[in-house]
Amino acid sequence: MEKALFIIFAVVSVAAALNILLQRNPLYSALSLVGTLIALSALYVMLRAQFIAAIQIVVYAGAIMVLFVFVIMLLNAPKEAPYIEKHKALRFLAIPFAGLLIAEAFYVIRLVKPIQMPASDDSAQAVGTTLSVGTKLFTDYLLPFEVTSVLILMAIVGAMVLARRGED
């Protein structure tokens, strides 16, 4: 049962991720990204990280991607030929790099023996719950958390500085 669900969501997420790249229309790409995010969040639920799954949907699928879709709809971007056509050489450069990455992935897969998933025993069930995330956030990761809030405040101020019109 669990395995079947995993396979379904894994296939969906990978297929949607591929679709992001293959679509010429930016709106379809954005929607595929939403699909990937939702499938991933289902995978998180299966890893017993419900909190992260829910946050992933609320923040990414629900807020950020809505904004993306909104902007794409507003701009109504035409289907354009990718810019990369002008740099044919770069395209061939990409092949060895992709090969390198794949080789790296295989290298790691070959090295590492499959081990028991830690989430499957009871003691580790609490990893992704609200309680454990909250506890970590306000003890171990208190400082990065607070610095992030300063970062976001700064980003808001900055966005306002750059977006504000003339002398208003």
């Binding site: 929607l31 909190f51 829910a54 946050i55 609320v58 699928a61 807020a63 904004l67 609200t130």
Partner: protein, 337 residues
């Protein structure tokens, strides 16, 4: 395992059936109340008190011609209605309708599933349902529809913040994201220790207004403002796709009522629930009914906002109020403990 699966399946089937009936009849209810408020009769010809009207409407719409505009983006045009309907239906699997009752010798909890992060799940689905509207507007390839879709996305993003922040007070109060826990924490005072009476009147006010906006109800129904946008994002839709939009909207309405009840008005809590668990179902239904009535009442009482007013109200009034509510609740909680 099979027992559990069977229980789930039955629960889902029952809730789905009840919900769809409720959706159909809330349309009738809306029209009857509209008639009452506007000093006229409303639909009363089909069956006694017009009770068969929803069936007649449904039948009529099924037989309408299903039109897909030639310049529309077909795939998105077809899936957009489901994108609105399915998330709003999915909300109901975490809402607790009542306490545990004993049926056929089994203890059965009156909610489909018990989810550790139920509240976040509800918020997540609420935020995802905007895709249906936005994409319907875009895919129709019609300027009014597009305007409706754009307005919907902007409005949802703005009001989602206030909505999310307004429930933080409830979270502080009950210490859990689990809707069942939230209901149970409101069980004191002989079942009347409801959040709205205790510390969250302000939180409820903000939540209620934001929920109205999330459900695209008047005075926040700009995405479908009929006087300026014809019918907004569903201008081009007909037949069953149109029905699905309507169902999605009323589903959202009932979901908003259900979530408000659960979070602020004690859910299924009420006097006497401990001794007669079946009473809890009645309490919940009654409260939801009251909310649906209020939503409809508002619709025929208040005029629509202008777009800039809507945005200003969301960002400059609701959001600060929600934050204020968090500060007050946290301070009170700290002082009391």
């Amino acid at each position: 395992m099979t027992d559990l699966l069977l229980e789930w399946t039955i629960k889902i089937a029952v809730i789905l059936g009840a919900l769809l009936t409720a959706v159909a009849y809330s349309v009738l209810l809306e029209r009857r109340i509209m008639g009452f408020i506007q000093l006229r009769r409303g639909p009363n010809r089909v069956g006694p008190f017009g009770l068969l009207q929803p069936a007649a409407d449904g039948l009529k719409l099924i037989f309408k011609e299903d039109i897909i505009p030639s310049q529309a983006s077909k795939l998105l045009y077809v899936i957009a209605p489901t994108l609105l309907l399915i998330p709003s239906l999915m909300i109901f699997i975490v809402i607790p309708f009542g306490s545990e009752i004993v049926l056929f010798g089994r203890k059965i909890a009156l909610q489909v599933t018990h989810f550790d992060v139920g509240l976040l799940y509800v918020l997540a689905l609420g935020s995802v349902s905007v895709y249906g509207i936005a994409l319907a507007g875009w895919a129709s390839n019609n300027k009014y529809s597009l305007m409706g879709g754009l307005r919907a996305s902007a409005q949802m993003i703005s009001y989602e913040l206030a909505l999310g922040l307004s429930v933080v007070g409830v979270l502080i109060q009950s210490g859990s994201l689990d809707l069942v826990e939230i209901v149970r924490s409101q069980g004191g005072w002989n079942g009347m220790h409801w959040n709205v009476f205790v510390s969250q009147p302000l939180g409820f006010l903000v939540f209620f207004i934001a929920a109205l906006a999330e459900a695209n109800r008047t005075p926040f129904d700009l995405p479908e403002a009929d006087s300026e946008l014809v019918a907004g994002y569903h201008t081009e839709y007909s037949s069953m796709k149109f029905v699905m939009f309507q169902m999605g909207e009323y589903c959202n309405l009932i979901a908003a009522a259900g979530v408000s009840t659960t979070l602020f008005w004690g859910g299924w809590m009420g006097p006497g629930v401990e001794t007669y668990p079946a009473l809890s179902l009645a309490y919940f239904t009654a409260k939801v009914f009251v909310f649906v009535f209020v939503f409809i009442w508002i619709r025929f009482t208040l005029p629509r906002f202008r777009y800039d007013q809507l945005m200003r109200f969301g960002w400059r009034v609701l959001l600060p109020l929600a934050i204020l509510n968090i500060i007050i609740t946290a301070t009170v909680k700290l002082l009391v403990s």
